[in-house]
Amino acid sequence: MNALRALKARPMRALVRDSRLSGLLNTGTAHRYATTAQPKPSFPPGSELAGKSKLTAQIHEKLKIMQYKHNKILEQMTGDISGMEREDMARLAKEQSNMGMIVVPYEHLLKQYSELLELEQMMNADDPDLRRLAREERQEVLENVATCENDIINGLLPKDSAESAGAILEIRAGTGGDEASLFCADLLHMYEKYAQLRKWKLETMSMDSEGDKIKEVVLKVSGRGVFGVLMFESGVHRVQRVPATETQGRVHTSTATVAVLPHATNVNIVIKESDLRIDVFRASGKGGQHVNTTDSAVRITHIPTGISVENQQERSQIQNRERAMQVLRARMYERERSRLDLERRASRNKLIGSGDRSEKCRTYNYAQNRVTDHRINFSMYNIEGMMNGTALQIVIDQLRIQHDLDELASMDDFDYISPPSQ
């Protein structure tokens, strides 16, 4: 019964998840109101003076709990250690350092908040010099608050190792015929210019184009943190403008699809030679000296998964095979990764980052000089800057902020312990 009383102190969600006891407990409505009152999550005192915080109230609660746990561990480590085993000591030390990465900035943040309270009092003082001093100090403290919050967020977010690597960018013309192909070329131009600004290296893996019209292009983008930036570009980009091919001057809507795959490092993907079927497009016949062929097309099919990649970009079959293998590895890695991702985030309802190819992400309206990203409902009035690649960073920054907030809001890997008695 002691166990039951202890359980009653936990929030409802934890109880329902605890499958060991789901048979014993009645988790109906009556029980919900019978739990001990949990204090409503609130912000620490003084935080309202810092303006809108990136961290929600729930997160502050969780951080408080983390701080409590951290202090408990410190007590354990500095207290009577004679009875402890070496492994326990090491484990505690590791936990303490991991938590320290988040708790230390948090404690710093709380200190900043209390300083803000003091400064607030100073601001209401009579002496104008004191008021001026307070204002200046306040500026500094606000900056510290922002840094601390960023540190905490970085510590809390799950690290996705794919984000720091390069990416494979595929742009395909969607609906709209020739106009879609022309738009595809414009998007390619935008990404090329953006990559130039960021000093990334671009390499064309394969391109299916006719003059200015591009049906499909696959690029490899190399650099640090490329995937973390470009992953927001996946989706359907829609353009509304008067096409160059139009005689009457009507506005047409056409689309292009962009897919971004993390560029797999060879370490992670193991592809067995026996699972691959390499098809070379050959006319039936004698071959060898009898025939002079320039056809160097290669198609690699991975039999178990059915993924197939084709490449006929270069004149050498060997080079084409290598490129096709790179794209194949990237696609397999992406498949595996998105499967894991989906499992991990099954319960979430996130706007961004699922990388689903069919979601509408952006509209480019030339007539109104407007670019709108639908996932965050963000509009920008600078098409020229966008298609030059210079204004793309603005949209990506906004997407990144929203992505981080979403991640933060749906994190639930804290374990619950009894909250400190207040």
Binding site: D212, G288, Q289, H290, T294, A297
Partner: protein, 332 residues
Amino acid sequence: MPRSVLNNTVIPLLRQLTKKLGEQQAKNELRWMTDHVRKAITTKHTVEHTTNARLWRDQCAPSAEETELASKRFSSVQWAWLRQAVHDRVETNKPLQYILGTQPFGNATVLTRPPVLIPRWETEEWMLKLADMIRAENTGLLNVLDACTGSGCVALGLACALPRGSVHITGVDISQDACELALENLARNKAKQAVEFQCVDLHEQSVASELMSRRVWDMVVANPPYVTPAEYAELDPDVKDWEDVRALVPGDPTSDLDQSGLSFVVRLAQLTRELGLADGESTKLPRLVVEIGGAHQVDGARQAMHDNGFNLTEVWKDMAGIDRVVLGYHKT
């Protein structure tokens, strides 16, 4: 936004090529031709020249956008080259490799020029496989004779694929054109090993002793002529009209003596025995590696090798599933 001129004048060229090659291959070849034009056929007009010309005429200097667009456009010299190239390709069946002048082969780039035989992908494939084998064995310096070297592709391909100092390759060919081209290729591809080329007629009896006096040989590789006279008559014009018949058909094409196309393979097996490679201890590496035309030549080639002391033979297929290479080992 102004579209580049490419759109309008490239289409007729594409159409011409499509008639001969089919849509996809025409696009690929046109792309390779335009890439070549951009890199190899440089336009004489630089930005400075244009700026000076304009200013002299009291006009504005070209803006950044204009120079960018101009760099994407082709000059009249480049257009003329492109039109000529497509005309040659379609009307006279000139092989693309002769038009562009190069062919990638393994890690090397081989210059190509009529009438020297253009390196085939099948040759590239077995050359790389052989290089892997040699690398895995990691023996000391191998002395390799590349017979019928043509453009020197096999010799240079092996040299570029193998680590430094693992092989010394001598390429020989009967054709003066081929030897000249091979030397040019040697200069162009900085191989990590010693490679030399010589103009030699392997049918002469004194060849073996002359070669023996120079060094102790470990291996003979070859892509000899193996097209039968009957097949030769049926070949596509872009092979028959442009590539040296001596590189394709062994022996004298006017005489009816050899219908199997194997006479050179037989001669090579003899020569390899004369070079002393049919004796000695058995090694993991083959002594004689010869490309053949297909299943119809496998038995003949194997027999020729057995007759000359290479008691173990192996056959490799290429990626199209055709029997392509016969290897002869000497096992004690």
